[in-house]
Symmetry: C2
Subunit: 327 residues, 2 copies
């Protein structure tokens, strides 16, 4: 997917995190001048080492901080990937999740409106806004019904971006991302999604634990496909739009676990365990995204098959062992 | 509509405001012990005089304040009507709107979960969450698409209530209310909806200004009908549900203005004026609620015809002239 960023000034909010740091690398490789603003909240996915050797300006601050005005002032493209992603953490501290995923974004949008209202803004939302779907696959007309505070807060953050387009003609887009995996994801925590936990266990030869019977399904998206979607969303046709971004192929959790073990040649065993209460109360059942809208309108399509993505990811973490133990 | 509240302890959050104070009166008349918690934010609709002569305990505090724990500790019924209603104010200060309509509600729900998780909670949401509808009437399966920060924040507040039901089995319900009018609404401000502004002008014989050509339609709901809906929503069948609550009959803005002038016998003229920018940018076009779901499930139905509701309202404000000038 070709999107020319050479010579542009790009801001990546949350650019020290998982998706953000991969995007920064892609933008720098494409010839962009990249500025990162990232709060480096200790329990989140951000780590300065994610940008080791990369020529980007990094400001360690929240997007709601006044310094954000300097960061965005002359940017053409702003990728807003800042936020908190942990579903369980959002239930332990709802106010912090709402602050990081909604309030700070309102502050950020006000800042951009004040200093650089013509900037192109692409925001990362999540399939979590749909909650437990009544039928699959889930398209953009499906009523939202989040099952946890994280889904509520991310929905608010997404809708704020769309409000700023409608009310002020700012060029915003928001993408509801499926389960994303790949290089530079924090593996060492248990509350940032099941995929990084499983990668850590596979790499260490530890037992993979599947909650329930493993029949639940997910469509998993390699981060390279997400980068393509983020860049495709800078097109004029995407202004004011919200798109689902998922993989066209879904798998059961048991299949995903088996594939991880097989592809990596790990000694890990797979065990089916009872749901822990803090996960079960916010479980969404099976999920599969219908991403036909962004396919039709922007020509984006997930390209990385799961087995290939797992291989790439395992290789990366094998070459960068610190990810397994970073705190 | 019969709902027995005699002898129960009821909390009305926002109970000094428009809908809240009418509800407090209804509950007290029904024999309930009523506690009010209301922040009395100066620019909102709350006023201590709304409860003049009413036997209710009043705590002046925000619902996010620690004192809320004492207020709700032994309540059977909690009506959560606290919040900010001004659409234009939400665009001037998004962070405050998100705080009052979402964050404080997260804090409040955490408080109730901690001290009184078995309480029945009914929350007031708004049709504003739908934004500018693609087709009418609008039922609950219509995708949300708020046009202003107030709609975003109210949606978050509503969804938080539903999350606390799904995750913690708390008995919550949220109602998306249409345009509500009636006694005890603050008339003196211009940013709390068009209906109170028009009532003020009709009472003073001033010119009613309609933005645009007056063909936009609204379904207007007398506050007595809202009280019926709030009480009906304490039924077991309503737990975990979100309902639209609107009038089955809609009218054009021109018709509503003409009806107000005719019913009140006012000398007011009606003038069509250009949209002010701060209203036009968040305008939603015509709106009509489909409330069939609450009709079918709870047996609630709007009963007050608009002409009768206007007559009642004009009579009330004629008898209570301070509403026209209170700041």
């Amino acid at each position: 997917m070709q999107t020319h960023v050479g010579g542009t000034v790009c801001v990546v909010a949350g650019g020290l995190g998982f998706i953000g740091s991969n995007l920064v690398r892609r933008l720098v490789d494409g010839g962009a001048h990249v500025r990162v603003i990232d709060a480096l909240v200790p329990t989140h996915g951000g780590d300065k080492r994610n940008l080791d050797g990369v020529d980007a300006d990094v400001v360690v601050a929240g997007i709601g901080d006044p310094v954000a005005a300097e960061v965005v002032a002359d940017a053409q493209l702003i990728f807003n990937l800042a936020g908190q992603v942990s579903h369980t953490a959002s239930m332990i501290d709802p106010v912090t999740d709402l602050t990081l995923n909604a309030l700070d974004h309102a502050q950020f949008l006000e800042t951009v409106r004040r200093v650089n209202p013509a900037a192109r803004i692409v925001h990362a939302s999540t399939r979590q806004v749909y909650g437990r779907p009544e039928r699959l696959p889930v398209d953009e007309n499906t009523p939202v019904s989040p099952v946890d505070v994280n889904g509520v807060a991310k929905l608010a953050g997404e809708q704020l971006h769309l409000v700023y387009c409608r009310a002020y003609s700012m060029a915003t887009t928001s993408l509801r991302l499926s389960n994303v995996y790949g290089p530079r994801q924090r593996l060492s925590r248990d509350d940032l999604g099941f995929l990084p936990v499983w990668f850590r266990k596979v790499l260490r030869g530890e037992t993979l634990e599947i909650f329930g019977d493993g029949s639940q399904r997910r469509d998993c998206l390699h981060v390279d496909d997400v980068l393509d979607a983020l860049l495709a969303s800078t097109a004029d046709a995407a202004v004011g739009r919200m798109y689902n971004v998922g993989h066209c192929r879904d798998h059961s959790l048991a299949e995903i676990a088996q594939m991880m073990v097989a592809v990596s040649g790990s000694a890990s065993e797979i065990r089916f365990v009872e749901w822990p209460a803090d996960h079960e109360r916010i479980d969404i059942g099976s999920f599969k995204m219908d991403s036909e809208c962004i396919v039709a309108e922007l020509g984006w399509k997930a390209r990385v098959p799961l087995s290939e993505g797992i291989r790439d990811t395992v290789t990366f973490y094998g070459d960068h062992p610190w990810y397994q133990s970073s705190t």
